[in-house]
Amino acid sequence: MIRFILNRLVTMLVMVFALSFVCFFIIQLPPGDVISAYAAELAASGDGNVAQTLDMLRERYGLDQPFIVQYFQWVRNLLVGDLGYSFNLSKPVSEIIQSRLGISLLVESLAVVALWGIAIPIGIYSAVRRYSVGDMFATVFGFIGLAVPNFLFALLIMYIIYVFTGSATQGLFSQEYANAHWSIGRIIDFLGHVWIPVLVIATGGAAHVIRTLRANLLDELHKPYVVTARAKGMKERDLIMRYPVRVAMIPLVATVGWVLPTIISSSIVTAIVLNLPTLSPILLRSLLSQDMHLAGALILFMGILTLVGTLVSDLLLAWIDPRIRAGMADG
């Protein structure tokens, strides 16, 4: 087991390097750089008066260097913990990520908890009471959640709130709490806002979980060991929860690792529509403005989170499923 984990960690290191190259390459693909994006932005606001300073900035940021030189500079800085500087936000990248990581994590964790909290019971119910009215309802509900784009759902909720209350609900805080320190009032204010993105993100993913769980559970429910256990008089509820559900969860657990990177990426459009102060809008902004260091750090960070998440799901799988555990021991 230890060997397995060590093995995985070494592979991960190699993967991170490959990732860093790919993401730096992709960010550099579009013509232009952060300076030209900045110039275009200024021109759009009508301020086209900066040509004389652009070349100078470019030189100072090393943007006139060949790609490979820029890449190695970037990696060297990463290795000593310097994530670089965001031209667009005019601050160190680490500061930006720090300032929003907590809140992103909080929103996404709540969303994931809500998603699984809603979807798993529904999935189990749908399988056990197949073709019941409840199952039909859950299915329809789930597919609507899947079919309606998240941003549209977010807009719809905002619109409904506006129609009923006449106020524009967006962001995670009211004006008076936005820049304040945490307090009871701020937490209440936060809870009053956060349910919208949580609901939007959760409904968007619910159908997938419901259907996967339902299908897997249906496969299990009629297997001989279930029939045997039932024949021996085991209580139906314990029976289902202890064995078939555990097996049916495997595909879900296998993908739990993908939840981690969604801290940054899952809800970009939702976050923008709802004006959430999370990392997602910053990622989009940095990509649009070709703010390499910021975009690079965020994408690499997402990549690393995926790798870590995969490792976590592997370990969870091993814990859930003895067959996998056995496989690891061999390897």
Partner: protein, 630 residues
């Protein structure tokens, strides 16, 4: 009542004279919270905070103190709105109608006959928001040490480059121009002019290596490339992010605008130099609060919910107007009109300097451009996209402008596909391929790729309507929507075949933003290489324009050198004559009146104010006279 007030003034004056105090001192009123601070000994009395002769602003309605102006910023680079709403207090300012220039921070000014020497007289006793004196030394620092320093990376008023600024005494600033320049006042009053009064020497010199030997080191330690950038971040316009910087403006920034924090708050500057007609120190409003949003629709939503007290920024599109109109009563706000400085909804710019010989030759043929112009059914576009508002229009000053020329505005705008076809046949483009698209002499189809940026949405809609119209005259229009930096990268490197943008330069900005009338600007995308003769004369890749264009550029240069407004207007009319004759670009339609929104509480909201970048709406109205009815 009036009589009483007059007598009060007279009494105050004589008393003030006796005590050696500034005139009217006894009559000034101030906001209650400031009065309380004076009472508590935290602030000097209002008469000592104001300059000896404060600037008197005639408010349409005398206001009451208090309230917060709520508005929104889009993303983290929207300083434009801060400059417009809170930061338009240059040395000299545009008047409301955008017809003339009047004193502002400078109490008066003189220009010599050659337009080489400008003298500005500041107000005695004018103070920064931290209570320290504001003197001409601050201005010399801004002009000589910062704006004219090649290491400074911020934007700068072009007219100030290469000048010599001196301060013979603390209230006088003299600017000597290297060559005659009649446009200095206009530049100073325009949106970039504010930076002259934005650098408090005491605070900003800490970022300058001449005053602080560690300035460069400090900048590098902060992750920046050099002091010039540090200066821009802390003191410059366009990236005014530092809330600690003292200011002359009506409101003083409280939060750093760092792209992370929201809302950005501003609070009343107790030393602001303006009073209303009754001697009440401005501003009336206590605070500003700007919420940073990621998406324009958030601003729209806040607007219809009545959570924005006044703005027109980002939201004043035709598409949004019905939404705002319908929700007025519910949201408790109203629409007001603005007059856009844009003279066109879209300007087609065929690249006359395009690298491809075949297309370039064709584009340079004026008859070809005329034929394309006749091939556009402008009325259909106006009816479809602008609910019938607007009129067919070329790149020409708006009817409200003193440079309006009906012939220039209307030439070749009638829809006449037969004539267009005839003209294209006459040019020799008679061969067509199977799709009915004309072929170039070398056999390639006549397909014109136009790059438009994604963020001015309606431009692509216009192009989509033009596409079938041009198909009828055998021209293929290949409209490509691109992210803005991509489109600009193409344009800046002269790799664009055609470019489309809105029609800047329709009102008072025509003379200094003449991009469509004479190749003169980075934005003159139809002839960037010719324009470089004006804006970048030492560029290696500039191209020699035809004689008529070269002469026009010379006339335009001469305009800048001319000292009097009449002479400059006369020369500019000559520039426009050539533009009419050259017909560089193809316009579509005149943009209709635009709009802004203001809550019902907000008072003194300007109606029919010009709307543009150079005239930074609503700044020139004196936003300090806005107030909220309690």
């Amino acid at each position: 009542m009036l009589r009483n007030r007059l007598m009060g003034c007279a009494a105050g004056t004589s008393l003030a004279l006796l005590l050696g105090l500034p005139a009217f001192a006894a009559d000034y009123n101030e906001a209650p919270d400031l009065a309380a601070q004076v009472e508590a000994g935290q602030l000097p009395p209002v008469a000592e905070r104001l300059p000896a002769t404060p600037m008197t602003v005639e408010a349409p309605e005398v206001g009451v103190y208090g309230g917060t102006w709520r508005s929104a910023l889009k993303g983290n680079n929207d300083e434009g709105w801060i400059r417009r709403s809170a930061g338009y207090d240059p040395l000299v300012k545009f008047d409301f109608e955008w017809n003339s220039i009047e004193p502002n921070v400078a109490e008066s000014f003189e220009v010599n006959d050659e337009a080489t020497r400008y003298t500005f007289h500041l107000r005695k006793g004018h103070k920064w928001s931290d209570g320290t004196p504001f003197t001409s030394d601050d201005l010399v620092f801004a002009i000589m040490d910062v704006i004219n320093n090649a290491d400074y990376t911020g934007t700068r008023p072009k007219a100030l480059l290469g000048v010599t600024a001196t301060a013979p005494d603390p209230e006088t600033l003299v600017i000597e121009m290297p060559a005659p320049n009649g446009m200095l006042l206009t530049e100073l009053a325009s949106v970039n002019g504010t930076q002259v009064v934005q650098f408090q020497k005491a605070y900003c010199s800490q970022f300058h290596p001449a005053y602080n030997p560690d300035a460069n080191e400090n900048a590098k330690a902060a992750g920046l490339a050099g002091w010039g950038e540090m200066m821009r971040q802390h003191c410059g316009v366009g990236r005014a992010r530092d809330a600690d910087r003292p200011t002359l403006y009506a409101w003083d920034q409280v939060d750093n605008y760092d792209g992370i924090k929201s809302p950005i708050r501003f609070t009343r500057n107790p030393y602001y130099f303006k009073v209303d007609q009754e001697g009440n120190q401005l501003p009336y409003l206590d605070d500003l609060s700007m919420t940073q949003v990621e998406d324009v629709n958030s601003i729209v939503l806040m607007g219809i919910a009545g959570e924005i007290d006044m703005t027109n920024r980002h939201i004043d599109s035709v598409a949004n107007k019905p939404v705002f109109f319908d929700n007025q009563e519910k949201g408790g706000y109203q629409l007001y009109s603005t007059v856009p400085a844009d003279m066109n909804t879209l300007i087609f710019q065929l690249n006359l300097n395009y690298e491809d010989d075949g297309f370039r030759e064709l584009f340079q043929n004026k008859d070809f451009r005329i034929a394309l112009s006749h091939g556009i059914d402008r009325q259909e576009i106006i009816d479809t996209l602008y609910v019938g508002l607007g009129e067919p229009y070329q790149a020409a000053p708006r009817p409200e402008s003193r440079f309006y020329d009906e012939e220039m505005a209307k030439q070749y705008t009638e829809y006449d596909p037969d004539l267009a076809n005839q003209m294209l046949d006459d040019i020799g483009l008679t061969e067509r391929n199977g799709d009915g698209i004309r072929l170039l002499p070398d056999g390639r189809p006549l397909s014109i790729r136009v790059d438009v940026t994604t963020d001015l949405g309606q431009m692509l809609d216009i192009l989509e309507l033009v596409r079938p119209q041009w198909k009828e005259i055998g021209v293929d229009l290949d409209a490509r929507k691109g992210e803005r930096s991509y489109v600009y990268e193409l344009k800046d490197n002269n790799r664009h075949m055609a470019h489309a943008w809105k029609g800047d330069g329709g009102l008072g900005d025509a003379q200094i933003d003449a991009r469509y009338y004479v190749p003169s600007d980075e934005e003159s995308a139809y002839a960037l290489m010719w324009a470089k003769n004006f804006f970048q004369p030492d560029a290696n890749d500039k191209q020699e324009p035809p004689a008529a264009v070269a002469a026009q550029i010379e006339t335009y240069k001469e305009m800048f050198r001319s000292p009097t407004d009449e002479k400059r207007a006369e020369l500019f009319r000559k520039v426009l004559e050539t533009a009419k004759d050259q017909f560089y670009t193809i316009g579509v339609s005149l943009p209709p009146l635009s709009f802004g929104i203001a809550t019902n509480e907000m008072q003194n909201v300007p109606e029919k104010q010009p709307q543009s970048w150079i005239y930074p709406t609503p700044g020139p109205m004196n936003t300090s006279i806005l107030f909220k009815r309690q």
